[in-house]
Symmetry: C2
Subunit: 118 residues, 2 copies
């Protein structure tokens, strides 16, 4: 059954986009990224570790990220850094997001094309 009951998260592909963006100009590790998305979006976007880690691994596997372990305060962390491919990917995803966003806004605000009287 279509359990299409609210849930509708509009979220598809967003974790990847945000991860790439957060890594511009700085290294971060998984746990930190989870917290950063939660905090910087003021709880609007909360992706669990079960979402973030697999995406990180896939991005690394695809060559968009480079990983290296570092031990800080006796804690082992896996830091990620953007590669050139990752920057390209970020550009592509940002462009796609922008396009989709504009298209949706256009229809939501309607009226522009040939809206009928409401």
């Amino acid at each position: 059954m279509a359990k299409r009951d609210i849930g509708a998260s509009f979220v598809n592909g967003v974790p990847e986009l945000l991860i790439l963006r957060l890594l511009v100009g700085q290294e971060m590790y998984g746990y930190e990224i989870v917290a950063a998305i939660r905090d910087q979006s003021r709880e609007s976007l909360v992706f669990g570790e079960g979402v973030i880690y697999p995406v990180l691994h896939a991005l690394e596997h695809d060559g968009a990220l480079k990983a290296h372990r570092k031990t800080v305060n006796g804690r082992s962390r896996v830091y990620y850094r953007l590669t050139a491919a990752g920057e390209r990917r970020l550009g592509d995803l940002t462009a796609t997001w922008s396009k989709v966003n504009q298209a949706v806004q256009g229809i939501l605000q309607g009226g522009t094309q040939h809206a009928k009287a409401v």
Copy 2:
């Protein structure tokens, strides 16, 4: 096989939102909605009938839409109209979309090089 060679569509839940929005103040039928989304988004968003029809059926089942058959030029069409519940749903989804959108924009533009706390 690339496990996760992501196509990143940013599309999740968008068809439902757009359908509800298009039906504000006017009745439409499925085939027409498919074309309307394609045209009004200038091909940025192209959802096939295989996407739209199931959503229409689910929305009707949930009481967000009312359907009635009408024959025009010998063609049988199923017209959909928003119910009060549908308008409420539209309001909810629009709010969610707006929130997600703002959160994503915030991180994308964020002068985030320095901060965890906003």
